[in-house]
């Protein structure tokens, strides 16, 4: 019989206001095996833990039940405290009487009754708990960063700085991501390229960092400290080692009509191309969808002009297998294409553009060489209308948009408005907003400058429709403060469209077994306390893949993720989860049912000798579990018909004891 101590936490009034904690302590004190039962204001506090440790010592407790908040919050805290007192940490169980009782029930009698039942279930389980000891597994001292935008770049640089190897996998031919396409950055108005490209060069020159550009993650196996990742290096038909990035091929290529994705399709590039001048790696790539040689077998101009013989039309995709201790998701975002909003005319009017398109139209390296000209007739626009919140802040039921605020649009629109007014003071600029959100250092000051110094017309209201009439964009909008409906003849309309997680994020999350929210942003292990970690051990989050954020925030989060990775890679060994499957060889049939459902390949079979009847020896095929590889899901335990496979910490009998206790009322 165990000697169990029960501790009921008040959680201030979080629990005690709804649950009669004294009654719970008294009722659970009468349960078989319970030798000590008490309530305390804050069990997780120093003095609460001391109370528990004193009781373990004085009452020679062999098991502990804490009735408190969710075990996802403080199970580890209480287990650690028990361990300090010499009690095996896995002899501690939590009854969740806060999230599952006091916070959702109002009636004290009802809540108290439920708290007692949950306490009983935990006691029933502890009766069957066995001390568990964690095994250890080694750590591969290399990290993988998926995505080479500013988030991935910063994370990689910080990890490399600490002396660990890092690989960056980037699906585009160059690293740099969205920041490379941006003209200027708020609120300081530095040129984005001027602050990003030196970092890109740092990455290229760092001998700890290896860039897999034009590559994608193919599969991920393993677990924290021991990931095995297959990376597909897509054929770029150019030998990366030979190519010097001289660019002659990109000038001579006769196929000139390829939409240039770097300039948001506002101009064209060649079929063989280097996305932009400061690309890293500065290596050409052949776009097989447009290359005449690839399509018809006739051309070969690039091969002829290449002085180093880097062109290889027969190049194939290559799969590279690499091992990592940690993986960082930095998959970034895309601005939504607002084609679903017919009334805003994006699909029908060339002069209705998205904000990222405007960035290219204002960038010195863009299609207009930095002079703001509208796409349709390449004329200078004299009236520019900005529309905020396009596709953001929609109702959850709304199929056209996203329910979240995209966070960066208010600031970059203020930046655009200001830059236009500064460069072209003859241009009238209207910004239609719902709210102007500027919580950030020097952000509101920046927005006020746009209004006060630059005379940008901020109108509280929305644009209802945009219709093109003879090269004029007829904008109909509301001005809610004056109660007027405005009709503006504009030359250019700019839509601040919602930020969307990159499409690749979903499949990557599945490979990483990292969870995502309904908007396809990665979820954090804890929204407040572990914001750069995924709930899946060894997976970290950097940048917009976790939620909308601007560059300074992205960079801080990227460094935070790097710090977490460094903390992991600095360890030589990781303590394994001791709650793993275990095969009872005396019961095992060797039928392989369990092996078929194990996602980790943790189960192996061996012929072993057993004692048969009448002093004979039998040889039977039996399963055994590698505890370093097993992650403790329990799939095998149900596949096993003979009950030979069981899960430590969540055994068949423990779970049934909980069932029994809950149903016995």
């Amino acid at each position: 019989m165990q000697r169990i101590g029960v501790f009921i936490c008040h959680c201030g009034t979080n629990i005690a206001a709804t649950v009669d904690v004294k009654a719970v302590a008294e009722a659970l004190g009468r349960e078989p095996g319970v030798v000590f039962s008490t309530d305390y204001q804050y069990m997780c506090s120093e003095s609460g833990q001391t109370l528990m440790r004193d009781a373990i010592r004085e009452h020679k407790l062999s098991g502990v039940v804490v009735c408190s908040c969710s075990p996802r919050m403080h199970e580890a805290t209480f287990r650690k405290a028990a361990e300090k007192e010499g009690l095996n940490p896995y002899m501690v169980e939590i009854a969740n009487i806060r999230e599952q009782v006091s916070w959702i029930h109002k009636d004290v009698a009802e809540a108290t009754e439920k708290a007692i039942i949950l306490g009983r279930a935990a006691i029933a389980k502890v009766h069957l708990n066995k001390p568990l000891t964690a095994g250890e597994s080694p750590v591969t001292k290399r990290a993988l960063v998926i995505g080479g935008g500013i988030a991935g770049i910063q994370t990689a640089l910080d990890i490399a700085e600490a002396g660990f190897e890092v690989d960056i996998v980037e699906k585009e031919p160059t690293i740099g991501g969205k920041m490379a396409q941006i003209d200027k950055t708020f609120p300081t108005l530095d040129c984005a390229a001027c602050i990003l490209t030196p970092k890109m060069v740092d990455v290229a020159q760092n001998d700890k960092i290896k860039i897999f550009s034009y590559s994608e993650v193919e599969s991920v196996k393993g677990f924290v400290g021991n990931f095995k990742v297959a990376i597909r290096k897509k054929a770029r038909f150019v030998d990366e080692d030979k190519c010097t990035g001289c660019g002659i091929c990109t000038e001579k290529c006769p196929q000139k009509k390829v939409p240039n994705e770097f300039n948001m399709g506002l101009d064209t590039r060649r079929a063989i191309y280097i996305p932009f001048a400061q690309a890293v790696p500065k290596v050409a790539t052949i776009d097989a969808n447009y290359c005449t040689m690839m399509k018809t077998g006739k051309c070969g101009v690039c091969q002829k002009v290449c002085g180093v013989g880097a062109i290889d039309y027969k190049q194939q995709d290559v799969i590279v297998e690499r091992e990592y201790g940690a993986i960082v998701a930095a998959t970034g975002f895309n601005p939504m294409k607002p084609t679903q909003y017919d009334e805003l005319g994006y699909s029908t009017c060339e002069d209705v553009v998205t904000s990222l398109e405007l960035e290219r139209l204002m960038n010195a390296a863009g299609p207009t060489a930095g002079t703001l000209l509208r796409p349709s007739d390449k004329k200078h626009p004299h009236t520019v209308v900005f529309v905020q919140c396009v596709g953001s802040r929609c109702d959850a039921e709304n199929e056209k948009g996203k329910p979240y605020c995209s966070k960066i649009c208010c600031m970059y629109t203020a930046k655009h408005a200001m830059l236009i007014r500064e460069k072209y003071p003859d241009t009238e600029v209207y910004v239609f907003y719902i709210d102007v959100r500027t919580p950030g250092k020097n952000f509101d000051e920046f927005y006020r400058r746009a209004v006060e110094q630059y005379g940008v017309h901020y109108v509280k209201g929305q644009v209802g429709k945009v219709v093109e009439d003879n090269g004029v964009l007829k904008v109909q909008a509301s001005d809610l403060l004056s109660g007027e409906q405005l009709h503006i003849d504009a030359d250019l309309v700019v839509l601040a469209t919602a930020v969307e997680p990159d499409k690749s994020a979903r499949s990557i999350a599945t490979m990483l077994t990292a969870s995502m929210d309904t908007n396809d942003f990665f979820t954090e292990a804890h929204a407040k306390l572990r914001p750069v970690e995924s709930p899946t051990a060894g997976i970290f989050l950097s940048g917009v893949c976790q939620g909308p954020k601007d560059i300074p925030e992205t960079v801080s989060q990227a460094s935070a993720a790097a710090a977490k990775v460094i903390g992991l890679l600095a360890k030589d060994k990781l303590t394994c989860n001791p709650c793993v499957a275990e095969s009872d060889e005396l019961l095992c049939n060797g039928c392989s049912s369990c092996e078929k459902v194990c996602p980790y390949g943790a189960i192996t079979y061996a012929d072993k000798e057993f004692r048969g009847p009448n002093r004979t020896t039998l040889i039977r095929r039996v399963a055994s579990v590698n505890p370093a590889v097993c992650q403790g899901c329990g799939a095998c335990t149900v596949a096993c018909p003979s009950g030979a496979m069981d899960l430590k910490g969540f055994s068949n009998r423990q779970i049934m004891a909980e069932v029994d206790a809950i149903c016995k009322m």
């Binding site: 969710s70 075990p71 996802r72 969740n96 806060r98 999230e99 599952q100 009782v101 916070w103 959702i104 029930h105 109002k106 009636d107 009802e110 809540a111 009754e113 439920k114 039942i117 949950l118 279930a121 999350a509 599945t510 077994t513 969870s515 995502m516 929210d517 309904t518 979820t523 709930p535 899946t536 709650c579 459902v597 996602p599 980790y600 992650q631 403790g632 899901c633 329990g634 799939a635 335990t637 149900v638 596949a639 899960l647 969540f650 068949n652 779970i655 049934m656 909980e658 069932v659 029994d660 809950i662 149903c663 016995k664 009322m665």
Partner: protein, 144 residues
């Protein structure tokens, strides 16, 4: 006639990574559901053995619900896919034996879906309350 004081007993098996976290979110968002629902934490929905479900009915449960990560989101990659097949077959068998299909349910609830957790449990509790006591899979020895 149903006893006016009848309160159903409902056992909810929740996977640790998604649905248990969803229940936590329901709690921290103060989204109430009936106290008749009691949660048992399991590492993954694939840990739920049909034995546990029958055991719950035997010991007096009137409804059993299993909640796990959405298909494709399993923390262990594939656990919920196996669980889904197992439960599909088990529930179909219970139905075949004439045991009310509505007494058993599977729902996929992510860590972000506190509202769905609460809504599901409210619905399920209402369904079970309407069905009344479990008679077809009861074990009288386990009743008071």
């Amino acid at each position: 006639m149903q006893d006016v004081n009848y309160r159903p007993k409902i056992v909810a098996f929740c996977c640790n990574w998604c649905s248990y976290a969803g229940a936590d979110l329901a709690g921290s968002s103060r989204l109430a559901y009936p106290a008749d629902v009691k949660i048992i934490r399991v590492p993954c929905s694939c840990r739920v053995n049909p034995l546990f479900i029958l055991r719950a009915f035997q010991r007096g449960a009137d409804g059993v619900i299993m909640a796990g990560c959405h298909p494709g989101d399993c923390h262990y990659t594939s656990g919920n896919y196996f669980a889904r097949r197992r439960m599909t077959l088990l529930f179909s068998m219970l139905d075949y034996l004439g045991i009310e299909r509505e007494r058993t349910r599977v729902e996929w609830i992510s860590a972000a879906e506190g509202a769905k957790f609460s809504k599901t449990m409210n619905e399920f509790a209402a369904t079970i309350a309407a069905l009344g006591e479990n008679k077809r899979l009861e074990d009288l020895r386990c009743k008071k």
